[in-house]
């Protein structure tokens, strides 16, 4: 099946992003496709690289997962701009962990139309 996943919470304040990560790993292991992982609200903070690798560095796990499975990790541009993760011009990939890119809600809607299942982690 084709999944679209939405991640809405910062890994610093809630378990939800980690749950989404575990779900995606299990879905891939079970042969499903992940069309898009869309980071929205405070979820865009998953693309932030903490200054020290450590207890809660989910961004490193996201990077490895994106690389291993050629996944598309998109941050909503306006949510990222609000949180200092993208400049006014849009993309500013220097601030993002590798594997993440800036995109828009249109990509989310588009992927939803192609997907069999839509799941969100964190409200």
């Amino acid at each position: 099946m084709k999944f679209v996943i939405q991640i809405n919470a910062s890994p610093r304040e809630a378990q939800a992003a980690n749950t989404g990560y575990q779900f995606i790993k299990a879905a891939l292991a079970n042969g499903h496709d992940i069309l898009l992982v869309f980071f929205y609200y405070d979820g865009v903070c998953n693309a932030q690289v903490p200054a020290f690798a450590g207890e809660d560095d989910l961004s490193a796990h996201w990077c490895a997962l994106a690389r291993a499975h050629a996944l598309d990790f998109v941050l909503c541009v306006s949510a990222a701009q609000r949180r200092g993760l993208a400049s006014c011009e849009g993309a500013d990939d220097r601030r993002l962990a590798p594997g993440f890119r800036i995109g828009g809600l249109g990509q989310w809607v588009d992927a939803c139309l192609k997907a069999d299942r839509i799941l969100a982690f964190g409200v």
């Binding site: 999944f3 939800a16 749950t19 299990a26 499903h32 299942r117 839509i118 982690f121 964190g122 409200v123």
Partner: protein
Amino acid sequence: MSVLHLVNTSPFETVALIRCLERAGEGDAVLLLENGVYGALSGCGFSAKVAAAAGSLDIVVLEPDLEARGLDRARLLQSLRLVGYSGFVELAVRHPLSLSWT
């Protein structure tokens, strides 16, 4: 289209679980995860409502989150079933829609 409901907050603190059960339709599934797994406990204020709802709903508990919190299976309501992340994926496959209750 049946719905997979995700409940991730503690029923000791929020009414999300109860509000979810009130809006879940027959054949829907309710997955208790993260702090929502406390909703699987027997002998608590909310337990009777959860047990009653388990008659028409598939109420499921995410086992890794249960283990994380050190909750003994002997303390859980009998009518619920446990799954891992693979079982979570299966639930998402079985139910076309999903809603989160926080």
